[in-house]
Subunit: 216 residues, 2 copies
Amino acid sequence: MNLPKPIKNLIDSFERLPGIGPKTAQRLTFYLLHVPQEALDEFGEALKNLKKDTVTCSVCFNVAEADPCPICADQKRDHAVICVVEQPLDILALEKTGKYKGVYHVLGGAISPLNNIEPDELKIKELLDRVKEQESGRVEEIILATNPNMEGEATAMFITNEIKKLPARHASQGEAGRRINELRITRLGQGLPTGGDLEYADEVTLQRALEGRREY
Amino acid sequence: MNLPKPIKNLIDSFERLPGIGPKTAQRLTFYLLHVPQEALDEFGEALKNLKKDTVTCSVCFNVAEADPCPICADQKRDHAVICVVEQPLDILALEKTGKYKGVYHVLGGAISPLNNIEPDELKIKELLDRVKEQESGRVEEIILATNPNMEGEATAMFITNEIKKLPARHASQGEAGRRINELRITRLGQGLPTGGDLEYADEVTLQRALEGRREY
């Protein structure tokens, strides 16, 4: 049976999305046949305008409507603390906590030789520039919030080494002898996720939880 | 953090789809930020044109580009056998077998008092008309291919009763004394799915498999 072309087109478009297989693509398409035309138009417009109406922030490489993005432009936030994440979605997750008041830096991925993602393809050089820069030379802490998996750990390690290679910052513009090695480099805490089950935790997570135990 | 409006709009549209939660909607939207604009335009157009370029076949209520649909218009198919399905997607699945040469009838769902779906909302009356009609009075078999779940079974039973209530068809237009009760009403075979595992089969499926056992 040849599917009607408009249906086939939409199934094809859905199938190209990650995690959407042929069956789900079919199901979504046939579901949309019962949706009012206005909702379809709205969905279609949202897709077409997604990239037209957004820019990448030239400071932190987050996706935003303006450059610099609202977070980088916000003078109430602590620009001396930079949280380094892999993707813009990670910022969303961290912002939801409501506890972080620093700024961000989006790498655009993690180092992954298997997927041909080399350090050059990530915004690591741009991060080092932010650390080096004299005006924003106030950077006091880099929080490496890459994912707690192999690629994320490798990226965190690579960035740490690169920062350590930077020439020591000397006292300048009135600042008293701050050196680059005074810069704190931290990594997000690892351990048991809240609501998790000790019984089902893998050995690495449990090991990290033991290492990261705190006074109660 | 306020998400940029174009991103929020698309997340909202994705979230309205069945089986797509907030996390998946976010993931899909941020994935699409890396897709070329042409692909987004194509996807958007496919959505907008989905309903504009399709019609419902007035005979079998399948979704198609023309009315009647290619299956109903195909004179090589056996119009004396009607396979009754819940949704157009079911036709797709049956056509993939390549073994069915009859025609179809799409009910548009199954009777489900819990979801407020009454028989009147399904194309049951239209099915009875097809069975009654003098010209297509040749209907010899109705295959009830509704889903093998409670709603599907109830719908199959309801349709069977309705067909049995129809007045007996008398010999007319040269046909020799065919009566409505000569019409075969069948249901798709039930049992173990191919590739399945006896160990994991539920008791009802196993019971059906025993009932439907065949000489080997």
